[in-house]
């Protein structure tokens, strides 16, 4: 862990809990409820922290959060299209 460069460490610490909760919960709204504020707050803090590559780290954190929110939604839409609801009439 100390061998990693600081921006990568910050990024991994910001994204890993959101990724873990997305995998654990498997609920689109629940994962979005955690990931959206976590990525926004962490990205904003990275911007305000005057760290090296702050803009890139913040952008990467927010983009990773957006991907984490969008992927379960995309999977849900694809599953709805593949398995239509049964209709009796």
């Amino acid at each position: 862990m100390p061998d990693l460069p600081a921006p990568a460490l910050v990024f991994s610490f910001a994204v890993a809990p959101g990724l873990a909760l997305t995998i654990v919960l498997r609920d689109t709204k629940g994962a979005a409820a955690f990931v959206a504020p976590a990525s926004l707050v962490t990205g904003s803090a990275a911007l305000m922290g005057n760290r090296p590559l702050a803009l890139w780290v913040a952008t990467a954190i927010i983009a990773a959060g957006a991907v984490l929110i969008a992927l379960p939604m995309l999977r849900r839409v694809m599953r709805c299209n593949v398995l239509p609801q049964p209709a009796l009439r």
Binding site: M1, P2, A6, L9, V10, F13, A14, A16, P17, A20, L21, V24, L25, R26, D27, K29, G30, A31, A33, F34, V35, A36, P37, A38, V41, T42, A45, A46, G49, R51, Q85, P86, A87, L88, R89
Partner: protein, 143 residues
Amino acid sequence: MALAEVNSPVAVFDPARPAKTFHDSRLPHDALGRLPVLHREAGRNLSRSRFLARSPLACVTLMLAGGLALLWASTSGGGTLRCDFAWAALVLLGVIAMTRNFIRGYARSLRRMPLEEAASDLRALLLYAGYMPVRPGAPAPFW
């Protein structure tokens, strides 16, 4: 008494009774039309109950992430004890609330709260936990 000795007044087989086939009977189309709605409702309830059942694992994940963050903060020499304690207490408050919600909505057998309400409460608690990442006084923005 043997079963063969039972003298029932009702005829066992009445040939005069009209036989009903599938086409003769009047199908309850209204009731059958509700089956897809019931199917969707059952699917939603199943996904909600699975979501609630995974909340203890989410609590463990949050605590592990918080512990790693505190460990990293202590090794990098940032953050005071008071600040770390307040942040850990806030995270643990969220974990306790999620555990209580799990017990009230899933684990209890009697007087269980509705699944929809429990799931929305869990989402609100996850929103609260999502605002916890940044600790004041931390050396870097992290969980």
